[in-house]
Symmetry: C2
Subunit: 299 residues, 2 copies
């Protein structure tokens, strides 16, 4: 089968064997929010030459405004419940590369256990691909990113979702705020000392993120760090506050899923608090789609 | 004398009598960051016709990159200490309207009692204009705005400064984030129900600002509020978190200084927590400059 992880800003396709092992991978920058509705053409071109008819997709491609809106499945939900929420899409007339394909899309998940609620799309599929967390007991999964997801899994079912705007806020503050004016453009390597100092801010019970963010300006004004290190300091302030709130009541260890550099940064921050971590690659999405296809009786 | 409150984004001038009462007021949008270095011309034109030679200025006009850099005075500092930090500026050749004027600029203040530190410029002058807080005892002053200042005054001296990025972040999130996409443009009146719901988020000890900000997106997705009310909800989330951190250890009542609409919003938020407030107008800056001019022996 073919597994397609189609997020807002990027697209990854995996060709899998019958056991779900990855035979080949391809990627593109034409994310679901960036491909201007040309879903069929983009997908047809990307998977050309991979002959399997079954294509399973997950991520923002299934959101309102995406290719097909797949309704959210509510917490708590296990793999069979997610598989039951998958929708089939007929795209044979949209692109010649999709004739004779059988296209399915995985649902996102909604958490209505809190007054405001929460949602995710794509991360549920990565979590289903995590073999460790689907056994008995309660597990904590963190998927850092533009919108970091903190997910609680209990006895094989996703029971709680909490999103933090960390990555988006980091980008906004760099690009548009008074803090960004003090920080040179570009992403230099992590300055561990500045990152750790940023993390430390959130440990003060009287600290608040809004104040600590202004501290990036003050740190620049008083020369506490050289300008390129201020990006690391800002990152530490944000991730520190994310952890401070997210860890309340969540059991260790934390399963971290995501791109290697970001997972490394979160692992460092968690370990600084004495919390054990397990690292997992983003490619878990492919394993998750394979598992869901089997649960649905497709593969 | 003439008192000039020259902040980053706007300029206000007051013509005062010998007792410091305001005889006349003028304003302009040519803030210290917006007047492209044309300080002398802008000021000369604004105060034309007011004959007093003594002109005292406060605010970003005295910052690095402003008209003259007046070094920060350190906490703790009372009115005489601030007056001693004032610098005189010779601008008679810059604009014909400034010949025979005697121009002085008030310093900003720096707080080095915390590891990162904090600063303000302009707010110290408003606080000096607050007669209530300069007696014995400890007082709390909040000056909400782009960068909200929380200031502790003890026995007539400013002893602690804490800045929150609240107003700037509100603007950034409206203009550039995924949250802003759900909120119609413009500033509708405050929706009290949505504002109160936003305030309430921060009361949950397990809540974090980064998560609660994403809640604006979720509230939109699930239709918890009509779209125009989401701006009030976002404002409540931000101000609620600002108060939650700022109030730790500060005594009530809170003296609120600023524009009427913003002071009203903060007063509502503080009173919802059972905290008494005193409201003061922005025009306090004029009284503060008059007091500092006298302390310096100029008026």
């Amino acid at each position: 089968m073919i597994a397609v992880d189609w997020g807002g800003s990027r697209l990854r396709a995996y060709w899998l064997d019958a056991d779900g092992a990855v035979l080949e991978r391809r990627r593109s920058d034409e994310g679901a929010l960036a491909c201007h509705g040309r879903f069929g053409k983009v997908l047809g071109a990307l998977i050309a030459g991979w002959d399997d008819p079954l294509v399973v997709m997950a991520g923002m491609v299934g959101a309102r405004g995406g290719w097909i809106e797949v309704p959210y499945v509510r917490c708590p939900a296990d793999a069979p419940a997610l598989a039951a929420g998958m929708l089939r899409l007929d795209a044979s007339r949209e692109a010649s590369g999709l004739v004779r394909r059988q296209l399915w899309c995985v649902p996102g998940m909604a958490d209505h256990t809190t007054p405001v609620g929460d949602v995710m799309r794509g991360e549920e599929t990565q979590i289903v691909g995590l073999p460790d967390t689907l056994g008995r007991g309660t597990h904590t999964v963190c998927l850092p990113g533009t919108h970091s997801k903190w997910v609680r899994v209990r006895d094989g079912a996703i029971v709680h979702i909490s999103t933090a705007l960390t990555g988006e806020l980091y980008g906004l503050l760099r690009a548009h705020s008074i803090l960004g004016r003090s920080i040179p453009d570009g992403e230099p390597g992590l300055d561990t000392e500045a990152f750790d100092a940023g993390l430390e801010c959130s440990r003060d019970p009287a600290s608040g993120l809004l104040h600590d963010l202004f501290g990036v300006r003050t740190a620049s004004l008083f020369g506490h760090f050289p300008p390129p290190a201020l990006a690391s300091y800002l990152s530490g302030v944000l991730i520190g506050h994310e952890l401070q709130a997210a860890l309340a009541g969540l059991p260790a260890p934390v399963h971290l899923v995501g791109n290697e550099a970001l997972v490394e940064r979160y692992a460092h921050a968690l370990q600084a608090r004495g919390i054990a971590v397990h690292r997992h690659p983003e490619e878990l999405a492919a394993a998750g789609m394979h598992r869901l296809a089997r649960a649905r009786g497709l593969a």
